[in-house]
């Protein structure tokens, strides 16, 4: 029951150049725009609103010409826990805020209420939308674009003493190495399995550590070694960090970006002004009525 192909599931951090509309946007637009959408989805409470949000995000994925199956692959690692959670919430009303719902179906201690159905829909919609949004950012923006965008956005903070350039470099390095390290981890897991180790066996934390140790320690060590090489390479190319660095790559804000930001602004306003809460209540009433037949 081993899933070795970790890299396939790490869609966050991989760049897919499809030349779509989204790819041509200024990275700053994408960071700010997708960031706002992310926040909106985290904050939004109504299930119907979240479904609309999810549809929006799916639309963006299609706009980016990213194959949907690829983007959704990022959900795989979290799927078992997510489904368990959804089932628990559905059947037991776990984590519910108001309990004024009449059960549609109940048996022993379990019951499915319209409220829990809605809560589960909200949960699944939110989760999927968030994963897709995050992956979308890295799928449509190359690492260097992300670095330049982040650096440009952080530059105003430089006056407060925050080393924006260096921070941007740190984030770039981190994002860029996640897929590489995932590959490394995969190799280590396979090597251990070939020697007969059972990674997902023991649930006792100490036992699990003993199994993970031969994988984790080499992972850290090879990563640190890569770090040494990277440091040497950067120094050899004359990188000194710090402000005053000029860039070969210049960011240009185009008409597409203004349109994109305006569109996102409208969407956000729509998301929060349309009375999704009332829609939810109607949905609840509908479900309740369906149940009583």
């Amino acid at each position: 029951m081993e899933d070795f192909e970790l890299l396939r599931n790490v869609t966050i951090g991989q760049y897919l150049p499809t030349g779509s509309l989204l790819h041509r946007l200024d990275p700053r637009t994408k960071i700010v725009g997708l960031g706002m959408l992310l926040l909106a989805i985290i904050v939004h409470k109504a299930a119907s609103g979240l479904l609309v949000g999810l549809l929006l995000v799916l639309g963006l994925v299609i706009l980016a010409r990213v194959p949907l199956s690829f983007a959704l692959g990022g959900l795989k690692p979290a799927l078992p826990i997510l489904l368990l959670l959804a089932a628990l919430q559905l059947l037991f009303g776990w984590g519910m805020f108001s309990t004024s719902c009449h059960p549609l179906w109940s048996w022993w201690v379990m019951s499915i209420t319209p409220c829990s159905v809605q809560a589960v829909i909200a949960l699944l919609a939110r989760f999927t939308a968030l994963i897709l949004l995050t992956s979308l950012l890295t799928l449509t923006t190359s690492i260097s674009e992300l670095a330049h965008g982040a650096e440009a956005l952080l530059r105003p903070l430089q006056r407060l003493g925050v080393p924006a350039d260096e921070l941007a470099m740190v984030f770039t390095i981190a994002l860029r190495f996640v897929p590489t390290l995932a590959q490394q981890l995969e190799k280590l897991l396979k090597a251990q399995a070939a020697r007969g180790a059972d990674i997902h066996g023991g649930t006792n934390p100490l036992q699990r550590t003993r199994q993970l140790l031969p994988v984790l320690v080499p992972l850290f060590l090879t990563t640190l070694r890569r770090g040494e090489e990277l440091t040497l390479a950067m120094e050899a190319r004359g990188y000194t960090g710090g402000p005053g660095r000029t860039h070969y790559f210049r960011l240009r804000f185009g008409r597409i970006d203004v349109v994109a930001l305006a569109a996102i602004g409208l969407l956000l306003v729509g998301l929060f002004s349309v009375p999704f809460g009332a829609l939810d209540q109607h949905g609840l009433a509908l479900l309740a009525r369906l149940a009583s037949h």
């Binding site: 921070l167 860029r176 934390p205 990277l230």
Partner: protein, 209 residues
């Protein structure tokens, strides 16, 4: 939220951190180490390898090994790197919060819980390590591991309590056994990795120009 006092405290802390940064310049090695350790922290989170045991105390789900790279970063390259790596861990924990279970997801969606406490993990580990290093290296590493893990646990739980999300009396017994396991695990990994790395690096140092 009813916590304007704490918001001021937070702002003050962030200001202090910003001032600290002005006085310290980052070397290339520090930038790279922070990035690499950050990458490991993200990897551990994304592949769920950083989570040990899905059942018992569900509360510290986001912390089991993910703080270890932060400790190692702080120990190897100092408090600023520890701060930055902690920031990456915190940011990622915040972004991952919506995918967690009900009580936890709400709490960690608040950056004061997911990001702010994590900033200090690397800092405390670094200072503790520096203080004890002359006396006994392995001990310094072990204590740094303990302190780093405790910083994470205490500050995160502390924030949850301060913000009124859950009472201490309920959280403490649920978190305690998990915390102890985390400390042991962290110490083992930190000591193993840093000792091995210093050994390797020691042999290499002779040849660097």
């Amino acid at each position: 939220m009813e916590l304007s006092f704490w918001q001021i405290v937070t702002a003050g802390l962030l200001g202090a951190i910003a001032i600290l940064r002005r006085k310290m310049k980052l070397s290339v090695r520090q930038i790279v180490t922070a990035g690499m350790m950050g990458a490991i922290a993200i990897l551990l989170g994304v592949t769920r390898l950083g989570f040990i045991g899905p059942f018992p105390p569900l509360i510290m789900v986001s912390a089991t090994i993910m703080h270890v790279p932060v400790i190692i970063g702080g120990v190897l390259e100092g408090p600023i790197v520890g701060l930055i790596t902690g920031l990456i861990f915190g940011l990622f924990s915040w972004l991952q919060a919506p995918t967690e279970q009900p009580p936890v997801n709400l709490w960690f969606s608040n950056p004061l819980v997911s990001i702010l406490p994590r900033l200090f993990i690397g800092v405390t580990s670094a200072y503790v390590y520096r203080a004890l290093r002359k006396a006994n290296e392995p001990l310094a590493l072990a204590v740094a591991g303990v302190v780093g893990t405790l910083t994470n646990t205490v500050l995160v739980v502390g924030m949850i309590v301060v913000l009124g999300y859950a009472p201490l009396a309920v959280l403490a017994p649920a978190v305690a056994p998990n915390a102890i396991a985390e400390i042991i695990i962290a110490v083992i990994i930190v000591v193993a990795v840093v000792a091995a790395w210093k050994g390797i690096e020691g042999r290499r140092k002779g040849s660097s120009v």
